[in-house]
Assembly symmetry: C2
Homo-oligomer: 330 residues x 2
DNA sequence: TTGAAAGCGTTACCAA
DNA sequence: TTGGTAACGCTTTCAA
């Protein structure tokens, strides 16, 4: 049987209530007894039973995080950011990996929710309505990070629309007029829609009518990049390509290599995300880097703030980091 | 205020005890009332308060996982394996990321332990003694995965000693006589010690006395690979190199590329881990693949087994996957 | 098959 | 500054 505050109280000759006050630093008590109690707690190897505390307090400082198992590696960076802030502000994180299977998702979410959470953060997930219903039926704050949901859920992400303008402008300035967008043609997710629209509008602002064929590829996968090069064949009908995720861009790079296309001489590549993966290739990928750590920190700050607006959309910084995959042409 | 079993009981005109029995499927009850209760629970949007249940039951089915924030990406694969098995067997996973800072580690661990855990799994961590003390002072099972600890803690990992034999034998069979081992020279971790010894003994079994200079590099990092090539310079004093992690091997490959060394013609590479990272390079890395999913599943199975032996060491499968980075020479 | 009641460990209120 | 006590929601024993 584990040690309880009652045990400590007995040994110290005071009441459990006092021990509780001391150990939680709430209410009044004399520093004298406090000293003794803290020592005793240490000696006896006391561990707070958080379940009992939660039950008693009815409010919790636990934030649940839903992470897709097939997550790209930037999820780790976001979690690190959340972890840092949560540690500072005294929140606890409860990380749950969810599969794409909606049944399993619901079970995981229910198990999460049975922990009296303060909030649930959805990390780069396009959550299904059934799951969302479950979440909504519970009394928790919701927040979507690195993804915007079409619902009224507050979100923190990069400004994906503006990001495409940045990239297109950059490529345009380097002489490119024909550029493809790979990996953002999934019809559903808001992120993909925003990127497509940003791409189209940015081209238009330079007087270029976009070619629908140049928007191709759904999966955020290495193979998507490989396949894209194969699909368009030689000679490529464009001089530059935008990879909608680092892993896609690495696929594009390798696909080009396999096809004897020289990067950046014959093909320029700009990638979206800018994780450390971009450093692993030769040449190093030119990237629009998202500030994932910032997303994580803002997520916690936002949830900690009781007066957060219910439908807010917060954008985090984007930085274009030149690598070696963009050439000036024309 | 959230719905409780009492609310359900009231509405159904029965006692809370009955509702509890029905919802947990324990004890006896009539299918008739059960039907009604389950419907009601659904309608009313009931969520079990797991804190209350834990408090009442005194035993928990929650397994805590300590994951280093600077984890290599195979941690995800292990977690997936654990998740799958945990889901099957009805356990809950509580994932906590820990920094290298020992103070923060202790706080994280304490917060974990305050949740009445069944067990704590340490994922590829060389835990510090201070943290281990905290863990030992609590009444939880411990298990180390993908790493063996020098203490009496049960562990699940690849047979790192045998793995080196596999690799050395493979390279020897391809004509290599001079081979380096990069990224396993950290004096402390058991894993590094085992790999070094396996490497040395395997060479000896082929009548080769190992060259101490050829064991180099501490960090499991991309830069370690890059630096290794620089350190040994041209011409390389060996014909093959073993990278102690995929990310190191990618560094080796890029370092070779930068130095104008052709892989595999001038240098053969075998990597340890065999994660999907190995598919991103050209040529694809020849790897000894560890079975991370199996580690994860075994971890849960092991913890679920009440009669587990306290000092057991379980080994998981290793598979040599030929890629394009090993040439036959001589 | 069902119910009443005690108990899990902690906190919060009120009184001393 | 301290202590007594009720309460949190659920499970479990024992009786009915």
């Amino acid at each position: 049987m584990a040690i309880t505050i009652k045990d400590i109280a007995n040994k110290a000759g005071i009441s459990a209530a006092s021990v509780s006050r001391i150990l939680t630093n709430r209410g009044r008590f004399s520093e004298e007894t406090a000293q003794r109690v803290r020592e005793l707690a240490n000696e006896m190897g006391y561990f707070k039973n958080q379940s009992a505390a939660d039950l008693s307090q009815k409010t919790s400082r636990v934030i649940g995080i839903l992470v897709p198992t097939n997550h790209t590696n930037f999820a780790d960076e976001i979690i690190k950011g959340m972890q840092k802030k949560a540690y500072e502000l005294g929140y606890e994180l409860l990380i749950a990996f969810v599969e794409t299977d909606s049944q399993q998702q619901i079970k995981t979410v229910r198990s999460l929710l049975s922990r009296q959470l303060l909030a649930v953060v959805m990390l780069a997930i396009d959550i299904e309505d059934a799951v969302l219903d479950v979440l909504n039926s519970a009394d928790v704050k919701l927040l979507s990070v690195s993804n915007q949901l079409n619902n009224d859920i507050p979100s923190i992400s990069s400004d994906n629309y503006a990001m495409m303008h940045t990239i297109v402008d950059y490529l345009y300035a380097h002489g490119h007029r024909q550029m493809a967008l790979i990996g953002a043609s999934d019809p559903d997710p808001i992120v993909a829609i925003l990127r497509r629209q940003g791409y189209i509008d940015a081209l238009a602002s330079h007087g270029i009518t976009y070619n629908p064929d140049f928007i191709w590829g759904v999966e955020m996968a290495f193979q998507t990049g490989i396949d894209a090069i194969k699909k368009f064949g030689l000679p490529l009908p464009f001089t530059a390509v935008i990879g909608s995720a680092d892993i896609i861009s690495i696929g594009l790079l390798n696909g080009a290599l396999d096809a004897g296309i020289s990067v950046p001489n014959d093909l320029s590549i700009v990638t979206v995300d800018g994780t450390e993966l971009t450093q692993l290739t030769r040449p190093i990928l030119t990237a629009t880097q998202q500030n994932f750590a910032q997303m994580g920190e803002l997520a916690i700050t936002n949830l900690a703030n009781p007066s957060r607006s219910p439908h807010s959309v917060i954008f985090t910084d984007i930085t274009l980091i030149p690598g070696g995959t963009v050439a000036t042409i024309g």
